[in-house]
Amino acid sequence: MAALPHSTPYDESQLLAICERFKHEPGPLLQVLHAVQDCLGHVPTEAVPRIAEALNLSRAEIHGVISFYHYFRQRPVGRHVLQICRAESCQAMGSRTLESHAQESLGIDFHETSADGQFTLLPVYCLGNCACSPSVRIADATFGHVDCAAFDRLIADLSADSEGDA
């Protein structure tokens, strides 16, 4: 896969600084992975041996942890990560229709990134926003009452933003 335009280049010194920051704390691996993903958008494969060395863990252990948690990813994502809640309260308010609509209109499945690198679609299981289901999260913002029309407006806003930046 070609590098996506929005992934931050891998910078080893940054990575080592993160490891340095956490390595004296008890059980630091999740914190390190969070910091790496915050920084780079994902946890690059080439980072694993470095983290292993710095934290005195085996590579297998680190792979094991990354693969266990849905949140950590080893591949770059698009410019905007959209999470659609698939859990029960949102189901009761039409999230299944929303899911299909999102997949169709963006032309991607869950866990995929649109060809232009703009959108990555992820499932999520409850955002604690169940009083106004269906819910969607984009970066650190949570949205409620997201029917198909509201979803289209969100996408239009994000697309307009992206064009403004370009």
């Binding site: 008890p26 059980g27 630091p28 691996l29 999740l30 914190q31 992975l33 969070h34 252990e61 094991g64 942890v65 266990f68 948690y69 849905h70 949140y71 950590f72 859990a87 029960e88 309260s89 949102c90 189901q91 009761a92 308010m93 999520v124 299981y125 409850c126 955002l127 604690g128 926003n129 169940c130 009083a131 106004c132 289901s133 819910s135 999260r137 650190d140 913002a141 949570t142 949205f143 409620g144 009452h145």
Partner: protein, 517 residues
């Protein structure tokens, strides 16, 4: 000129409904026009169908306006509504007179939506830290006894008596003990932990400090799910404020006790809400469930004795210490003492947080508080207690809301989530989702959970396709038994509950031709 306080919530759902831009606009208006108003960001009252809810304090009462959009706000400001706050035609009256709020028993949520959650002074003024003041003068064993006598049971789902857990930690000698707050709130349809952490985080902090005093622990961890970014921000600020005021750190409140709290984030794994998986995760490992014994109270985080409690359990502690176990005991029925913050979700007109003493009925929550379905269609199924809870048909809605009564009908109250579905729901699809979710979130340690759940999805697919329905339904129920009895934890052990309830109460949805409607 007298300043009026104006409250606009900073709470995930309120912001999802527009509170953030409303607050921004109000801030501009105040600054530009020099209005005699002071903007305070509070938590949410939990009357979510009225959010964004703006309140104005005239010195005596708080008056409610909502749901408010920017243009309505501008109208109010143009009318100088602060000069006579209750008189404007769009005013909903005094907030506390709104029946939805008036008819609750807000104990744990007494301050949520009322005060500025990041102000230690506001917290103190509203009765906060009275419990801690008292605890600092008590023997550890007496604090534990007070919690035991209150009858408080864990609000995270399993309803285990909190006092007994604390006693075990107190009785286990160790160089280091921990207080771990379970803020993973993975159950769908629940948001009370989030609301409390966003609206009254000091109550959680105070509860954790008291827990530390009770068992001799000087370190606390909050394990917060990653899905709550605003909560994280607010908690961080609240912890910093508590630290600045001497409630955290060395020699807290000028006593001989130290206590520090660290916030750590989950990474999107439902199973990490299970307490031993959470410990593994806090230790930086895969979130695999540990076999018990040893109990976490004996060998928990980093193999040290640890209190693990849900957010609401811990936030209930300060009030119990401040007002006494007897007062708390007075609420509730049978062995379910105190209150539970129910969370109304799904297809309801008035979704929101309803804190009530145990003993009311589900029907009252759905009808009196929830005001029926949002879609206008008849309600048909209600899932209580998160994704591992049973689906209940109308015939069960008069069951009293208490732990034992729910257990008796093969259901559970769990963390108090109530998700309502109207008559368009397809219950075989809901049962399928329960199995699918279990397959997705299983930690993989035991076969009935890991493999059984995938098998369950296949069986339900066959039934939905109309293939050998009777036989496959029998197999499905057998599989449910195997999962229930052969699983190490409640993930595999309780997934059969929603599945069985769907088959039992909504059998029509498993009949030929029903699947694809």
């Amino acid at each position: 000129m007298a300043q009026h306080k104006i409250f606009v919530p900073r709470d995930t759902t309120s912001c999802a409904l527009g509170a953030e831009s409303l607050a921004e606009r109000l801030g501009q208006l105040i600054a530009v026009d020099g209005l005699p108003l002071q903007l305070v960001r509070n938590g949410s009252r939990g009357l979510y169908w009225l959010e964004p809810l703006l309140e104005i304090d005239d010195g005596e009462s708080r008056w409610a306006y909502g749901p408010l959009c920017e243009s309505k706000l501008e109208e109010l400001v143009a009318a100088r509504f602060w000069e006579n706050p209750g008189a404007h035609p769009s005013c909903l009256g005094k907030t506390e007179d709104i029946p939805y709020l008036r008819d609750q028993q807000r104990i744990t949520f007494a301050r949520v939506g009322v005060i500025d959650p990041l102000s230690v002074a506001a917290y103190r003024e509203a009765g906060g830290f009275r419990g801690l003041d008292k605890a600092l003068t008590m023997q550890a064993a007496d604090i534990v006894a007070e919690i035991r006598d209150s009858g408080l049971r864990g609000r995270g789902g399993a309803a285990f008596p909190t006092g007994i857990k604390w006693q075990t930690v107190l009785d286990t000698p160790a160089p280091q003990k921990y207080v771990v707050c379970n803020a993973d709130e993975g159950d769908s349809g629940t948001y009370s932990d989030r609301m409390l952490m966003e609206g009254d985080p000091m109550a959680l902090i105070e509860g954790m400090i008291i827990a530390g005093l009770a068992v001799g622990a000087d370190r606390g961890y909050i394990y917060l799910r990653e899905e709550y970014p605003l909560t994280r921000l607010l908690l961080d600020e609240a912890l910093e404020a508590a630290r600045r005021e001497g409630y955290l750190g060395e020699r807290i409140c000028d006593s001989d006790h130290d206590f520090e709290i660290e916030l750590r984030l989950g990474a999107g794994a439902y199973i990490c809400g299970e307490e031993t998986a959470m410990l593994e995760s806090l230790e930086g490992k895969r979130g695999e469930v540990r076999a018990k014994p040893p109990l976490p109270a004996v060998a928990g985080l980093f193999a040290q004795p640890s209190i693990i409690n849900n957010v609401i359990s811990l936030a209930s502690v300060p009030g119990i210490l401040a007002d006494g176990a007897v007062e708390y005991q007075a609420y509730g029925v049978g062995r379910s003492r105190g209150t539970l913050p129910f969370q109304l979700a799904g297809n309801l007109r008035q979704a929101g947080l309803v804190e009530l003493a145990f003993g009311n009925t589900l029907r009252s929550l759905l009808e009196d508080f929830g005001a029926g379905s949002r879609s206008g269609r008849p309600l048909r199924a209600v899932q209580v207690g998160g994704p591992l809870g049973a689906y209940l048909p109308e015939s069960q809605w008069d069951t009293p809301l208490d732990y034992e009564a729910f257990q008796a009908i093969g259901a559970m109250l769990g963390h108090g989530g109530i998700v309502a579905f109207d008559d368009t729901v397809d219950m075989s699809l809901q049962a399928r989702f329960s199995m699918e979710f279990c397959a997705l979130e299983s930690c993989g340690k035991c076969t009935p959970c890991r493999i059984g759940s995938t098998r369950g999805v296949e069986l339900i697919d066959r039934i939905r396709d109309g293939r050998e329905i009777e036989q496959n339904t029998a197999l499905l129920l057998e599989l449910c038994d195997t999962m229930e009895h052969g699983s190490l934890c409640a993930m595999g052990g309780l997934t059969p509950y929603p599945v069985r309830s769907a088959v039992r109460y909504f059998s029509a949805d498993f009949e030929p031709g029903a699947g694809n409607t």
